[in-house]
Assembly symmetry: C2
Homo-oligomer: 391 residues x 2
Amino acid sequence: MDNFAFYAPTYFAFGKDAEAQTGTLVKRFGGTKVLIHYGGGSVVRSGLLGRVKASLEAEGIDYVELGGVKPNPRSGLVYEGIDLCRREGVDFVLAVGGGSTIDSSKAIAAGVVYEGDFWDFYSGKLIEKALPVGTILTIAAAGSEGSPDSVITHENGMYKRGATGDAIRPRFSVLNPALTQTLPPYQTACGITDILAHLYERYLTNTREVEVTDRMIEALMLTMIHEGPRVIENPDNYEARANIMWAGMMAHNNSCGVGRSQDWNSHNVEHELSALYDCAHGAGLAVTMPAVFTYVMHHDVMRFAQVATRVWGCQMDFAHPEVTAKAGIEALRAFLTGLGMPRTLGELGGKEEDIPKLVDVLCNGNGRQGAISGFVTLNETDCAAIYRMML
Amino acid sequence: MDNFAFYAPTYFAFGKDAEAQTGTLVKRFGGTKVLIHYGGGSVVRSGLLGRVKASLEAEGIDYVELGGVKPNPRSGLVYEGIDLCRREGVDFVLAVGGGSTIDSSKAIAAGVVYEGDFWDFYSGKLIEKALPVGTILTIAAAGSEGSPDSVITHENGMYKRGATGDAIRPRFSVLNPALTQTLPPYQTACGITDILAHLYERYLTNTREVEVTDRMIEALMLTMIHEGPRVIENPDNYEARANIMWAGMMAHNNSCGVGRSQDWNSHNVEHELSALYDCAHGAGLAVTMPAVFTYVMHHDVMRFAQVATRVWGCQMDFAHPEVTAKAGIEALRAFLTGLGMPRTLGELGGKEEDIPKLVDVLCNGNGRQGAISGFVTLNETDCAAIYRMML
């Protein structure tokens, strides 16, 4: 196991009506003037935004609002949010929504206290200072509610890139599974896919003998396999929603990723798809993961055989471990398809003739030099082959 | 899943030579005058105490020392530590040792800033304020390095009781698996048993449909089953030590115990054994767990069958689930015996004629009223039967 530091000081208020604690929590973590950041009309229509405001008002906390976050959140709204916060003297950013809203909030929180262009952080600079962030989560997916990460798409070039730093870990996150019961099945399935991807990206490691984190990742995968179909069948299943919500946080707060190298190339390959086609990130991952895994499988067949037997219930073929490894990947694909996720680039709105452009942005965009690194380093030829496997 | 709050803001520095960060970490978390609290001579002989002092000195941090913590730590040394801290103006308590040293440090940290008798906290009062605590862990076992809990034995009556409160969660914990390589096999096995007990105490729940935490607990159990025999066979196996050390922390920081009722009656039943006979807590648990589980098994046979099949690899007997449930308990007993743990009360130094006294202190001591509650409420008759099963 590699040496590591782990520090995850987010306060989680979990359960029914937990959003009623918002005002108390903002106060506890030092907020006096809040930016409420959110996406579209659903948090307004559902009454959630009203309840959040009432909770702030009950504590005498002032606020301003900025809606309009879109899936695959854009740099333009981040710049707008930074200006608003500076103008209004905001000292706390409250995200009400899913991963896109949280990531946009984190970018604003870091940008407000930074003299340069916030995009510096999305070009490799560590975030060391930010306004405190809190979240009211409305979809189990991104894990951003417990992570030090954020992903934003720059509108100038449509680069989708990540930033990180303990300063943007939320001070608190409100996780009420009931808020996710109104999600359409497609969005729920996208969330489940994203959670599985966060687990696979950590599972695919070149570090040897990391049994404890292997087992924890497998545990969360097994949870998704058990609860995913139940929640698609019955969106009102609170218990299944609750299990998925806690699993989604645990999948990405890195308690099961410590001390081991990680992959993240499925995310890298996917990000170009959601940046170019504006497809849902989870849907993009459903197409991307089986292609990437099939392409890199021979780098460590036994690792893929392990997840196939321990998680997907495949019988181990001791004479031909690669058969088992492949069966595990196919089981993943079938599981995702069963949830209603797409299998091909075409279903995402992609076209074969875009592949050279996708490969170029992926491997050379925003400072990269002809390849992406992870479980296996993938150059332009590799990435082109992977995109073709999605056709 | 029940509503819950989860807040685990301990900074973990994990890996080889991590103790070199001690001074930096004490400074980061506001310490200027430190009490170094430790047990016997092993931390002196190994040179660890010297390295810790050097790290503090390098940061210009002043310190005083208090050694002498014994396994099953006593109230007397806590009172002494409280006096010392007040006299010397200590503002940070640093535990160098295992669970006993950490628990004693937490008691001191809470007592220093409390006007009444610190034992109030061990009689049910929540700890809301304490000096900050840091730990340098030397045995994977108690999980106290990441928990808000402490257990102390009062010398007046030999009550062994627990206290809790977020204020005593360590601000940081240094986890260097290499520090555990010099432990005798018996102590290592006691630690593994304690970790398994922390997992079982959370697994035995009356809350329905908590798949995510069930799976996470099982993952950590499977880790112990894999790594336990490896580390007993080769105490220098760093990787096995590392997996056990992280599992031990995860087993008890409650990330896998949230939102579900828990048991803790094996711990309750055992605490009277280590209080009266001064046996190792882990050894006491090895004798206690199979007896308690066999006694309460029929309260939820399917839960015991689940752990038997998912963790112990037992074949499910669908016609007779109780056969599978029992096989799982026997597999646990055989595993612990294989590590060198005892099976009977006699091996702990206990005697049949003590049972009435054990039962009385357990069920009526320190304010209890004839029973202990948990997965199953156990009255005096139940507890007497359980102790007799250990003969």
